[in-house]
């Protein structure tokens, strides 16, 4: 019973981590412009992240190391510094985008421009991290994230041709806007396979003191949680395809177009649900990314860390998330377009993948860390696939950004 509760909490938490401004914006853009054709990218991204999250959890539960600890210890500081810098940069941009997402939701709700909301949002997130515990953040905020299920409900109520949805789940070549099509595919993959997601997950496993008895729980949470998150993304894509596409909105280049998505289905409440979903999903992600930034620095340099400690007991750790949050709010407060930043940071995430995923291949096959729980053939095949995909994405994402970006 306790395990069942833990699994359901974990699943809810992973949904909170999975669905954020990146997955919502990329799925909505893809749906509006290409109908169901890019569903395969969401499905592929979800399968990849299931494997990586399962491995991150297994590594933490068996070796009692987080992924960041493991990379530094196994490869040495001179190698660790590259993923460290890359993830710090990517996290910073993603955090800025998430703050932008909440600020846009606040603008939609109040009519006051999003720029004014950036600093208050950062302050609220900071206050929760400063005073809250890991349990509060993990469980409380992600419970609220269940509101995003409204996209799945909406997608079903729209009665899509399920046969066409299934066809979209298989990759196919675009009939128009080729560069944009591939850029969207890259952004969707970047939004699904986020390094912060699996690194945060391994830190969480250490915070919750997982050991080998959690391996089954870990597998269930990784599989169910990420599939659940992926399903909601597909829901967003279907709704965008059927509502935005049908209303002639093919180019989502402004957040103000997005709330239209749910109005034909739920009327005024559709607007409320959209704003709530955007605000909660982005706020939850902002908390996780800010915390992950502090985890990464503290773990990389061996400082004391833990969200349950009082800030005065880990001043270095607390200062990192404090500075990160407020600095990340600055570009939004200065008026940088959150939607553009989101799409850009998702493509950059995809480009950074090789640096964080290559170490998995070594860490998860190293007897000294995972012993008998090392990767099997299937998991290793999955990692090699993600690495290959990561290299392709790293090479193509910058040119595609130039030719297919918005």
């Amino acid at each position: 019973m306790k395990k069942l509760l833990e699994i359901s909490l974990g699943v809810v938490t992973s949904v909170g981590g999975f669905l954020e401004v990146g997955s919502m914006a990329t799925a909505a853009q893809a749906g509006a412009l290409f109908g169901f054709q890019l569903i395969w990218a969401v499905v592929l991204g979800t399968i990849c992240i299931i494997f990586l999250v399962e491995m991150a959890g297994r590594f933490a539960a068996v070796s009692h190391h987080t992924i960041a600890d493991g990379i530094r210890e196994r490869f040495g500081f001179n190698a660790f510094i590259w993923p460290l810098l890359a993830v710090l940069l990517v996290n910073f941009l993603v955090l800025s985008a998430e703050i932008g997402g909440v600020a846009i939701a606040a603008e939609l709700a109040t009519g006051i421009s999003f720029q004014w909301w950036a600093l208050p949002v950062a302050f609220l997130a900071w206050l929760l991290l400063w005073k809250g515990t890991f349990g509060l953040i993990e469980k409380g905020v992600s419970m609220l994230g269940l509101v995003t299920l409204c996209f799945v409900v909406a997608a079903v109520m729209l009665r899509p041709e399920w046969k066409e949805v299934a066809v979209g789940a298989a990759p196919s070549l675009p009939h128009h806007d080729t560069a944009k099509y591939w850029f969207m595919a890259v952004s969707i993959l970047g939004a699904s396979i986020s390094p912060y997601l699996f690194m945060f997950y391994s830190s969480g496993a250490i915070e919750d003191q997982w050991d080998k008895s959690y391996l089954g729980t870990n597998r269930a949470i990784a599989g169910l949680g990420m599939s659940f998150g992926g399903t909601i993304s597909v829901g967003v894509l279907i709704v965008a395809a059927l509502v935005l596409g049908a209303h002639g909105v093919t180019e989502v280049d402004d957040y103000n177009q997005l709330p239209l998505m749910l109005i034909p289905i739920f009327g005024f409440w559709g607007f409320v649900l959209f704003v709530a979903s955007l605000a909660i999903a982005c706020f939850g992600a902002a908390l996780e990314v800010a915390l992950q930034q502090a985890y990464l620095v503290a773990q990389g340099f061996g400082w004391n860390w833990g969200e349950d400690l009082k800030p005065r007991d880990d001043p270095g750790f607390s200062l990192v998330y404090t500075l990160t949050l407020f600095l990340a709010a600055v570009p939004i407060a200065l008026g940088l377009d959150p939607l553009k930043l989101t799409i850009f940071s998702m493509a950059l995430t995809a480009a950074s993948l090789p640096l964080t995923v290559v170490p998995f291949l070594f860490l998860l096959n190293d007897d000294r860390y995972v012993g008998e729980h090392r990767n099997g053939v299937v998991s290793n095949a999955a990692v090699i696939f993600v690495i290959a995909l990561g290299f392709v994405l790293a090479v193509v994402s910058i040119p595609l950004q130039i030719f297919g970006g918005t």
Binding site: S63, H64, H65, D69, R72, E73, G76, F77, N78, F80, I81, W130, K131, F301, G302, W303, N304, W305, K310, P311, R312, P315, G316, S318, L319
Partner: protein, 119 residues
């Protein structure tokens, strides 16, 4: 045990299990006619910067000397004979509060973090 593989970059904790840093470098003693002997481990930004090359090492040492005085411009050393346990972390029989390792965190606590309400 292989020094570089199994020691370098491992988490260091004190006798109260407080995380105090990573093994940023290893100090070995060379005496004529005898095999090299590990005498200490080093922690801190200066030791770390030395591994990246002489330019970062020079900058970090200068910065440390400016921020906290000449005596801080050396890495923190923990004698190898204080080692108590090598497992997931390396435990040394010391009390971090009686070293200078956390001087910067103490400074932060006193001057920045402690001044924010609710810390």
């Amino acid at each position: 045990m292989q020094l570089l593989r199994d020691m370098l970059d491992k988490q260091v904790v004190d006798r109260e299990q407080v995380k105090i840093g990573k093994v940023d470098s290893i100090v070995a003693e060379l005496k004529p006619g005898k095999p090299p002997r590990v005498s200490a481990v080093e922690l801190g930004s200066i030791a770390l910067a030395r591994r990246l090359g002489s330019t970062p090492a020079g900058w970090t040492a200068k910065l440390a000397a400016r921020l906290s005085g000449k005596q801080q411009a050396r890495p923190h050393r923990i004698a190898w004979n204080k080692v108590r346990d090598i497992g997931v972390d390396i435990e040394f029989d010391i009390d971090v509060r009686r070293t200078r390792i956390f001087a910067w965190q103490d400074w932060l606590r006193e001057h920045v973090v402690g001044r924010i309400p609710g810390a």
